[in-house]
């Protein structure tokens, strides 16, 4: 399985994400925001957390329109798998690959803590490694994680079983406790919590490992 991890100016979780993919057995290629193509043979693109372009204009807005941004949109349109974590989730909503938007936390405070989540669907390559209804703890660290979607959009997401994770004890005001959502074809996942920060014991937990293992295993067979 081959994963391509993008680095934007201001990304700070790109190495952690690359590391999590490698530990799950993936070959990892690091790519730069000025690159214009996803490397041939890539199975999954990782859009990491951080503060791409200093969060100027809106979180993720400039990154989503960078040269690699169009390549990611094209890759997803052809059925490629994409995971966006934290700032990466903001980038994917700005690209229009995922519905809704991430606004300033309702508390107006930056939240940084281990966060309990419920796996809301196991019907995706990202979450099928978990038991239905499993509770996991991933770290969160964000100022703009307040997921907003209109009533119609929410109805559609829930009707199509596209909420991947929900917060237990909502930390940021997100609509319907939503922490992560899937695209219509279930091949693009965006989430605010950080599974890549809990893949080995020395990080204080391993709840994120199943996500990368499932992704790696499934895509290796594909």
């Amino acid at each position: 399985m081959k994963a391509a991890v993008i680095t934007f100016p201001g990304s700070n979780c790109d190495r952690d994400l690359a590391d999590a993919f490698e530990k799950a057995g993936a070959e990892v290629v690091r790519i730069w925001h000025k690159d214009t193509e996803i490397p041939a043979g890539t199975d999954v693109v990782g859009v990491p957390g951080g503060f791409s372009f200093g969060d100027y204009l809106r979180c993720g807005a400039i990154a989503s329109r960078s040269p690699i941004g169009q390549a990611v949109v094209d890759f997803a349109a052809k059925g490629g798998h994409v995971i966006g974590i934290c700032n990466g989730f903001q980038v994917l909503t700005e690209m229009g690959l995922l519905p809704g938007a991430l606004m300033r936390n309702a508390s107006l405070k930056f939240v940084c803590r281990p966060q309990k989540l419920a796996v809301a669907t196991t019907n995706s390559i990202f979450t099928e490694g978990y038991a239905a209804g499993a509770e996991v703890t991933y770290p969160i660290a964000h100022h703009d994680g307040n997921y907003v979607i209109d009533a119609e959009g929410l109805k559609r997401l829930e009707g199509e079983d596209r909420v991947a994770f929900r917060y237990i004890d909502n930390p940021n005001g997100s609509t319907a406790d939503i922490a992560g959502v899937l695209s219509e074809n279930r091949r693009v996942l965006g989430l605010m919590p950080h599974p890549e920060r809990v893949v080995e014991d020395r990080q204080g937990g391993t709840d994120g490992a199943a996500l990368f293992r499932a992704l790696s295993g499934m895509l290796a067979q594909a």
Binding site: L57, A101, R104, N105, S107
Partner: protein
């Protein structure tokens, strides 16, 4: 030619920052502030000389980058 773009959250989208400003104004003794909405002003210097063409182009910029139309609305002034 100059253009000024106002970007505001759409009606109905809760503005936590505006609410915080409203509370702060209350603490400073400005009673009677019933609502605060916070937005952005973006000024552009354009080479264009035709106002209608400039307006159309700036609107395209708003749709593609300057506003996130999922949660924001915008207005364009050309001067």
């Amino acid at each position: 030619m100059k253009a000024r773009v106002h970007v505001m959250l759409k009606d109905g989208v809760l503005d936590p920052q505006g609410e915080a400003v409203r509370h702060a104004l209350g603490h400073l003794g400005f009673s009677g502030v019933e609502g605060v909405r916070q937005g952005k002003v973006i000024e552009l210097d354009l080479a264009a000389t035709d106002a209608a063409a400039a307006e159309a182009e700036v609107k395209a910029m708003c749709e593609k980058l300057l506003a996130n139309t999922v949660i924001e609305k915008y207005t364009v002034e050309i001067a």
